[in-house]
Amino acid sequence: MAHATESLLMEGGTPTRLPFPSGSLEACVVRVLAGDTEAFGPIVEALEPRLLGLAWRMIGDRDQARDAAQEAFLRIYRSLRSFRLDSSFTSWAYRITVNVCRDYLRKRGPTLPSGADPEALANSESHAEPADAAVLRQERRNIVQSALDTLTHAERSALVLRDLEGLSTEEAAAALGVRPVTVRSQVSSARAKIRAFCAQRIPDSTGVRP
Protein backbone atom coordinates (compact mmCIF):
# COMPACT_ATOMS: atom_id res chain seq x y z
CA MET A 1 0.00 0.00 0.00
CA ALA A 2 1.64 3.20 -1.13
CA HIS A 3 0.96 6.39 0.74
CA ALA A 4 1.91 9.52 -1.12
CA THR A 5 2.88 11.85 1.69
CA GLU A 6 0.84 14.79 0.51
CA SER A 7 -2.29 12.72 -0.09
CA LEU A 8 -2.54 12.35 3.67
CA LEU A 9 -2.95 16.07 4.08
CA MET A 10 -6.24 17.82 3.63
CA GLU A 11 -6.63 21.01 1.66
CA GLY A 12 -5.75 23.24 4.58
CA GLY A 13 -2.78 21.14 5.62
CA THR A 14 -4.61 19.34 8.44
CA PRO A 15 -3.74 15.65 8.66
CA THR A 16 -6.53 13.27 7.82
CA ARG A 17 -6.77 9.94 9.65
CA LEU A 18 -3.30 8.43 9.74
CA PRO A 19 -2.48 4.80 9.06
CA PHE A 20 0.38 4.98 11.60
CA PRO A 21 0.57 4.85 15.39
CA SER A 22 0.37 8.41 16.70
CA GLY A 23 3.89 8.37 18.14
CA SER A 24 5.60 6.82 15.12
CA LEU A 25 8.15 8.68 13.05
CA GLU A 26 5.84 8.55 10.04
CA ALA A 27 3.06 10.20 12.02
CA CYS A 28 5.52 12.92 13.05
CA VAL A 29 6.44 13.39 9.40
CA VAL A 30 2.80 13.99 8.51
CA ARG A 31 2.46 16.51 11.34
CA VAL A 32 5.57 18.37 10.21
CA LEU A 33 4.25 18.52 6.67
CA ALA A 34 1.02 19.94 8.02
CA GLY A 35 3.01 22.83 9.45
CA ASP A 36 3.84 21.64 12.96
CA THR A 37 7.59 22.26 13.03
CA GLU A 38 7.89 21.10 16.64
CA ALA A 39 6.80 17.61 15.55
CA PHE A 40 10.29 17.30 14.10
CA GLY A 41 11.57 17.19 17.70
CA PRO A 42 10.64 13.52 18.30
CA ILE A 43 12.26 12.62 14.99
CA VAL A 44 15.49 14.30 16.08
CA GLU A 45 15.30 12.65 19.47
CA ALA A 46 14.81 9.19 17.99
CA LEU A 47 17.44 9.40 15.27
CA GLU A 48 20.06 11.77 16.66
CA PRO A 49 22.20 9.24 18.55
CA ARG A 50 22.34 6.93 15.53
CA LEU A 51 22.90 9.60 12.90
CA LEU A 52 25.51 11.49 14.91
CA GLY A 53 27.28 8.21 15.65
CA LEU A 54 27.06 7.19 12.02
CA ALA A 55 28.54 10.53 10.95
CA TRP A 56 31.40 10.15 13.40
CA ARG A 57 32.14 6.60 12.25
CA MET A 58 32.03 7.68 8.64
CA ILE A 59 34.14 10.81 9.07
CA GLY A 60 36.21 10.16 12.18
CA ASP A 61 36.29 13.77 13.33
CA ARG A 62 34.03 15.13 16.07
CA ASP A 63 33.45 18.61 14.71
CA GLN A 64 32.99 17.51 11.13
CA ALA A 65 30.67 14.73 12.28
CA ARG A 66 28.53 17.27 14.15
CA ASP A 67 28.40 19.52 11.10
CA ALA A 68 27.57 16.62 8.80
CA ALA A 69 24.83 15.30 11.08
CA GLN A 70 23.36 18.80 11.40
CA GLU A 71 23.38 19.14 7.63
CA ALA A 72 21.78 15.70 7.31
CA PHE A 73 18.91 16.66 9.62
CA LEU A 74 18.31 19.86 7.70
CA ARG A 75 18.28 17.91 4.43
CA ILE A 76 15.84 15.45 5.95
CA TYR A 77 13.58 18.32 7.01
CA ARG A 78 13.76 20.00 3.60
CA SER A 79 13.12 16.73 1.75
CA LEU A 80 10.23 15.45 3.85
CA ARG A 81 7.75 15.96 1.00
CA SER A 82 9.69 13.53 -1.16
CA PHE A 83 9.67 10.79 1.49
CA ARG A 84 7.36 7.90 0.63
CA LEU A 85 5.44 6.86 3.69
CA ASP A 86 5.36 3.22 2.63
CA SER A 87 9.14 2.99 3.01
CA SER A 88 11.33 2.95 6.09
CA PHE A 89 11.96 6.42 7.47
CA THR A 90 15.07 5.27 9.31
CA SER A 91 16.62 3.79 6.15
CA TRP A 92 15.77 6.98 4.29
CA ALA A 93 17.42 9.08 7.01
CA TYR A 94 20.47 6.82 7.01
CA ARG A 95 20.74 7.21 3.27
CA ILE A 96 20.68 11.00 3.44
CA THR A 97 23.26 10.98 6.23
CA VAL A 98 25.57 8.63 4.34
CA ASN A 99 25.35 10.90 1.29
CA VAL A 100 26.16 13.98 3.36
CA CYS A 101 29.12 12.18 4.96
CA ARG A 102 30.40 11.07 1.56
CA ASP A 103 30.24 14.67 0.39
CA TYR A 104 32.30 15.66 3.43
CA LEU A 105 34.82 12.90 2.78
CA ARG A 106 35.13 13.88 -0.88
CA LYS A 107 35.72 17.52 0.03
CA ARG A 108 38.23 16.58 2.70
CA GLY A 109 40.23 14.24 0.51
CA PRO A 110 42.79 11.77 1.87
CA THR A 111 43.42 12.10 5.59
CA LEU A 112 46.53 11.98 7.68
CA PRO A 113 46.66 9.26 10.32
CA SER A 114 44.39 10.18 13.21
CA GLY A 115 46.10 11.78 16.14
CA ALA A 116 45.06 11.61 19.76
CA ASP A 117 41.80 13.43 20.37
CA PRO A 118 42.04 14.97 23.86
CA GLU A 119 38.36 15.88 23.95
CA ALA A 120 37.38 12.37 23.02
CA LEU A 121 39.68 11.04 25.67
CA ALA A 122 38.13 13.31 28.27
CA ASN A 123 34.58 12.39 27.25
CA SER A 124 35.29 8.71 27.04
CA GLU A 125 33.28 6.68 29.46
CA SER A 126 36.45 4.88 30.34
CA HIS A 127 37.99 7.91 32.04
CA ALA A 128 37.58 6.11 35.35
CA GLU A 129 40.08 3.44 34.30
CA PRO A 130 43.79 3.85 35.03
CA ALA A 131 45.56 6.47 32.96
CA ASP A 132 47.76 3.92 31.18
CA ALA A 133 44.75 1.85 30.17
CA ALA A 134 42.90 4.94 28.93
CA VAL A 135 45.88 6.02 26.83
CA LEU A 136 46.26 2.51 25.43
CA ARG A 137 42.59 2.39 24.61
CA GLN A 138 42.74 5.76 22.89
CA GLU A 139 45.73 4.60 20.86
CA ARG A 140 43.76 1.59 19.71
CA ARG A 141 40.79 3.75 18.83
CA ASN A 142 43.09 5.88 16.72
CA ILE A 143 44.42 2.77 14.97
CA VAL A 144 40.88 1.67 14.22
CA GLN A 145 40.12 5.11 12.80
CA SER A 146 43.24 4.87 10.65
CA ALA A 147 42.14 1.44 9.49
CA LEU A 148 38.71 2.82 8.54
CA ASP A 149 40.45 5.63 6.66
CA THR A 150 42.16 3.06 4.42
CA LEU A 151 38.80 1.84 3.08
CA THR A 152 37.06 3.21 0.04
CA HIS A 153 33.99 5.31 0.73
CA ALA A 154 31.73 2.47 -0.43
CA GLU A 155 33.50 -0.11 1.76
CA ARG A 156 33.47 2.19 4.75
CA SER A 157 29.76 2.99 4.37
CA ALA A 158 28.89 -0.69 4.06
CA LEU A 159 31.06 -1.77 7.00
CA VAL A 160 29.82 1.03 9.26
CA LEU A 161 26.17 0.31 8.54
CA ARG A 162 26.48 -3.46 8.64
CA ASP A 163 28.97 -4.16 11.44
CA LEU A 164 29.03 -1.00 13.55
CA GLU A 165 25.44 0.21 13.27
CA GLY A 166 24.13 -3.34 13.30
CA LEU A 167 21.86 -3.07 10.25
CA SER A 168 21.02 -6.22 8.31
CA THR A 169 22.47 -6.59 4.84
CA GLU A 170 19.11 -5.74 3.30
CA GLU A 171 18.68 -2.65 5.47
CA ALA A 172 22.20 -1.48 4.69
CA ALA A 173 21.58 -2.04 0.98
CA ALA A 174 18.39 0.02 1.17
CA ALA A 175 20.21 2.80 3.01
CA LEU A 176 23.04 2.82 0.47
CA GLY A 177 20.84 2.39 -2.59
CA VAL A 178 22.70 -0.70 -3.80
CA ARG A 179 21.93 -4.41 -4.08
CA PRO A 180 22.46 -6.69 -1.05
CA VAL A 181 25.09 -8.66 -2.95
CA THR A 182 27.09 -5.46 -3.35
CA VAL A 183 26.93 -4.80 0.37
CA ARG A 184 28.12 -8.35 1.12
CA SER A 185 31.06 -7.95 -1.21
CA GLN A 186 32.03 -4.54 0.17
CA VAL A 187 31.69 -5.63 3.78
CA SER A 188 33.74 -8.74 3.15
CA SER A 189 36.51 -6.74 1.52
CA ALA A 190 36.41 -4.11 4.28
CA ARG A 191 36.61 -6.72 7.05
CA ALA A 192 39.65 -8.31 5.44
CA LYS A 193 41.41 -4.93 5.10
CA ILE A 194 40.62 -3.92 8.68
CA ARG A 195 41.83 -7.24 9.95
CA ALA A 196 45.11 -7.03 8.07
CA PHE A 197 45.67 -3.41 9.14
CA CYS A 198 44.97 -4.01 12.81
CA ALA A 199 46.83 -7.34 12.98
CA GLN A 200 50.06 -5.57 12.05
CA ARG A 201 49.66 -2.92 14.74
CA ILE A 202 47.65 -4.59 17.50
CA PRO A 203 48.53 -8.29 17.96
CA ASP A 204 45.42 -9.08 20.00
CA SER A 205 42.96 -7.23 17.78
CA THR A 206 41.63 -10.37 16.13
CA GLY A 207 39.85 -13.00 18.04
CA VAL A 208 41.03 -12.46 21.58
CA ARG A 209 39.81 -9.16 22.86
CA PRO A 210 42.27 -6.97 24.75
Binding site: G41, V44, L148, D163, G207
Partner: protein, 191 residues
Amino acid sequence: VTTRHVSHLLHLWTGGDLDPDRSARVQAHLKLCPTCTAEAEALRGQTAWLREMAEPPFSAADHLAFRAQVMAGVRREAAKPQSHWQVRPALAAAAGILLVLGAGLWLRNPRTTLVPAAQTAPAQARMEPPPPRTDPKPVRPRVTSPPRQRAPAGEPTPVTRMEFQTADPTLRIIWLARTVPSPANQPGPQH
Protein backbone atom coordinates in the same frame (compact mmCIF):
# COMPACT_ATOMS: atom_id res chain seq x y z
CA VAL B 1 33.28 -29.03 1.95
CA THR B 2 36.96 -28.32 1.98
CA THR B 3 38.76 -26.11 4.46
CA ARG B 4 39.46 -23.57 1.72
CA HIS B 5 35.80 -23.26 0.85
CA VAL B 6 34.82 -22.71 4.43
CA SER B 7 37.50 -20.06 4.93
CA HIS B 8 36.06 -18.24 1.98
CA LEU B 9 32.53 -18.45 3.39
CA LEU B 10 33.33 -17.60 7.00
CA HIS B 11 33.02 -13.83 6.45
CA LEU B 12 29.47 -14.37 5.23
CA TRP B 13 28.68 -17.00 7.82
CA THR B 14 29.67 -14.83 10.79
CA GLY B 15 27.58 -12.00 9.36
CA GLY B 16 24.54 -14.28 8.94
CA ASP B 17 24.57 -13.68 5.19
CA LEU B 18 24.68 -17.30 4.03
CA ASP B 19 21.61 -19.10 2.78
CA PRO B 20 20.34 -21.87 5.13
CA ASP B 21 21.76 -24.69 3.01
CA ARG B 22 25.31 -23.40 2.87
CA SER B 23 25.12 -22.20 6.45
CA ALA B 24 24.30 -25.77 7.55
CA ARG B 25 27.22 -27.11 5.53
CA VAL B 26 29.62 -24.64 7.14
CA GLN B 27 28.36 -25.52 10.61
CA ALA B 28 28.84 -29.20 9.90
CA HIS B 29 32.39 -28.53 8.75
CA LEU B 30 33.21 -26.41 11.78
CA LYS B 31 32.40 -29.33 14.06
CA LEU B 32 35.19 -31.30 12.40
CA CYS B 33 37.79 -28.60 11.74
CA PRO B 34 39.46 -26.80 14.67
CA THR B 35 41.35 -24.47 12.31
CA CYS B 36 38.17 -23.10 10.74
CA THR B 37 36.48 -22.93 14.14
CA ALA B 38 39.31 -20.76 15.44
CA GLU B 39 39.07 -18.60 12.33
CA ALA B 40 35.33 -18.15 12.81
CA GLU B 41 35.83 -17.17 16.45
CA ALA B 42 38.48 -14.67 15.39
CA LEU B 43 36.14 -13.06 12.88
CA ARG B 44 33.36 -12.78 15.44
CA GLY B 45 35.79 -11.33 17.94
CA GLN B 46 37.04 -8.79 15.43
CA THR B 47 33.55 -7.44 14.79
CA ALA B 48 32.82 -7.08 18.50
CA TRP B 49 36.22 -5.51 19.15
CA LEU B 50 35.83 -3.12 16.24
CA ARG B 51 32.43 -2.03 17.46
CA GLU B 52 33.85 -1.34 20.89
CA MET B 53 36.82 0.61 19.55
CA ALA B 54 34.65 2.65 17.17
CA GLU B 55 32.18 3.71 19.86
CA PRO B 56 31.27 7.38 19.21
CA PRO B 57 32.94 9.71 21.73
CA PHE B 58 29.93 11.92 22.47
CA SER B 59 28.72 12.44 26.01
CA ALA B 60 25.08 12.84 27.06
CA ALA B 61 25.64 16.61 27.25
CA ASP B 62 26.98 16.58 23.70
CA HIS B 63 23.84 14.84 22.49
CA LEU B 64 21.55 17.29 24.29
CA ALA B 65 23.41 20.29 22.90
CA PHE B 66 23.36 18.80 19.44
CA ARG B 67 19.61 18.19 19.50
CA ALA B 68 19.01 21.79 20.53
CA GLN B 69 21.29 22.95 17.74
CA VAL B 70 19.42 20.85 15.16
CA MET B 71 16.01 22.09 16.27
CA ALA B 72 17.23 25.70 16.18
CA GLY B 73 18.35 25.12 12.59
CA VAL B 74 15.02 23.53 11.70
CA ARG B 75 13.08 26.45 13.20
CA ARG B 76 15.20 28.89 11.20
CA GLU B 77 14.49 26.83 8.10
CA ALA B 78 10.75 26.82 8.83
CA ALA B 79 10.74 30.57 9.30
CA LYS B 80 12.02 31.18 5.78
CA PRO B 81 9.29 32.51 3.46
CA GLN B 82 7.63 29.72 1.53
CA SER B 83 7.22 31.79 -1.62
CA HIS B 84 10.89 31.10 -2.23
CA TRP B 85 10.02 27.46 -2.83
CA GLN B 86 6.91 28.09 -4.92
CA VAL B 87 8.17 30.71 -7.34
CA ARG B 88 11.29 28.84 -8.36
CA PRO B 89 9.51 25.96 -10.19
CA ALA B 90 7.14 28.45 -11.83
CA LEU B 91 10.08 30.45 -13.13
CA ALA B 92 11.81 27.31 -14.37
CA ALA B 93 8.65 26.18 -16.18
CA ALA B 94 8.16 29.60 -17.72
CA ALA B 95 11.77 29.73 -18.87
CA GLY B 96 11.41 26.26 -20.39
CA ILE B 97 8.23 27.24 -22.27
CA LEU B 98 9.95 30.37 -23.49
CA LEU B 99 12.91 28.42 -24.80
CA VAL B 100 10.76 25.82 -26.56
CA LEU B 101 8.54 28.43 -28.20
CA GLY B 102 11.51 30.52 -29.22
CA ALA B 103 13.26 27.52 -30.72
CA GLY B 104 10.08 26.47 -32.52
CA LEU B 105 9.56 29.90 -34.02
CA TRP B 106 13.17 30.10 -35.08
CA LEU B 107 13.12 26.66 -36.71
CA ARG B 108 9.96 27.48 -38.68
CA ASN B 109 11.44 30.59 -40.17
CA PRO B 110 14.91 31.41 -38.95
CA ARG B 111 15.24 34.60 -41.02
CA THR B 112 12.13 36.34 -39.77
CA THR B 113 11.52 34.99 -36.29
CA LEU B 114 12.09 38.18 -34.43
CA VAL B 115 10.67 40.48 -37.02
CA PRO B 116 7.25 41.92 -36.15
CA ALA B 117 4.40 40.08 -37.84
CA ALA B 118 3.42 43.07 -39.95
CA GLN B 119 6.83 43.24 -41.56
CA THR B 120 6.99 39.56 -42.51
CA ALA B 121 3.46 39.25 -43.87
CA PRO B 122 4.41 39.42 -47.58
CA ALA B 123 7.10 36.76 -47.20
CA GLN B 124 4.73 34.41 -45.40
CA ALA B 125 2.09 34.95 -48.05
CA ARG B 126 4.48 33.65 -50.68
CA MET B 127 5.38 30.54 -48.73
CA GLU B 128 2.02 29.30 -47.45
CA PRO B 129 -1.66 30.20 -47.61
CA PRO B 130 -2.90 32.53 -44.91
CA PRO B 131 -4.23 30.72 -41.84
CA PRO B 132 -7.97 30.68 -41.33
CA ARG B 133 -9.22 33.32 -38.98
CA THR B 134 -9.92 31.52 -35.79
CA ASP B 135 -9.46 32.35 -32.16
CA PRO B 136 -5.86 31.90 -31.14
CA LYS B 137 -5.00 28.76 -29.19
CA PRO B 138 -4.69 29.48 -25.48
CA VAL B 139 -1.22 27.94 -25.27
CA ARG B 140 0.28 30.18 -27.94
CA PRO B 141 1.99 33.34 -26.84
CA ARG B 142 0.34 36.63 -27.63
CA VAL B 143 2.57 38.54 -30.04
CA THR B 144 1.82 42.20 -30.53
CA SER B 145 3.67 45.00 -32.20
CA PRO B 146 3.23 48.74 -31.87
CA PRO B 147 1.27 50.66 -34.55
CA ARG B 148 3.20 50.05 -37.68
CA GLN B 149 5.10 52.93 -39.20
CA ARG B 150 7.71 52.03 -41.74
CA ALA B 151 10.97 53.15 -40.25
CA PRO B 152 13.37 54.93 -42.56
CA ALA B 153 16.51 53.02 -43.48
CA GLY B 154 19.10 53.12 -40.75
CA GLU B 155 16.63 53.64 -37.92
CA PRO B 156 15.83 50.83 -35.44
CA THR B 157 12.86 48.59 -36.23
CA PRO B 158 9.86 48.50 -33.89
CA VAL B 159 9.87 46.29 -30.83
CA THR B 160 7.89 43.02 -30.79
CA ARG B 161 6.16 42.19 -27.54
CA MET B 162 5.54 38.55 -26.49
CA GLU B 163 3.58 37.66 -23.36
CA PHE B 164 3.49 34.29 -21.62
CA GLN B 165 1.03 33.51 -18.86
CA THR B 166 2.55 30.94 -16.47
CA ALA B 167 0.61 28.48 -14.35
CA ASP B 168 0.91 30.96 -11.51
CA PRO B 169 -1.73 33.60 -12.26
CA THR B 170 0.39 36.27 -10.61
CA LEU B 171 3.37 35.58 -12.85
CA ARG B 172 3.51 36.70 -16.48
CA ILE B 173 6.60 36.85 -18.65
CA ILE B 174 6.87 39.64 -21.16
CA TRP B 175 9.52 39.39 -23.85
CA LEU B 176 10.45 42.42 -25.92
CA ALA B 177 12.45 41.71 -29.10
CA ARG B 178 13.83 43.99 -31.77
CA THR B 179 15.21 42.88 -35.14
CA VAL B 180 18.77 43.81 -35.90
CA PRO B 181 19.78 43.24 -39.53
CA SER B 182 22.66 40.86 -39.84
CA PRO B 183 24.59 39.72 -42.91
CA ALA B 184 24.16 36.12 -41.78
CA ASN B 185 20.36 36.48 -42.15
CA GLN B 186 20.51 37.60 -45.79
CA PRO B 187 19.63 34.90 -48.34
CA GLY B 188 22.74 33.47 -49.96
CA PRO B 189 23.22 32.40 -53.58
CA GLN B 190 21.24 29.34 -54.61
CA HIS B 191 23.22 26.28 -55.80
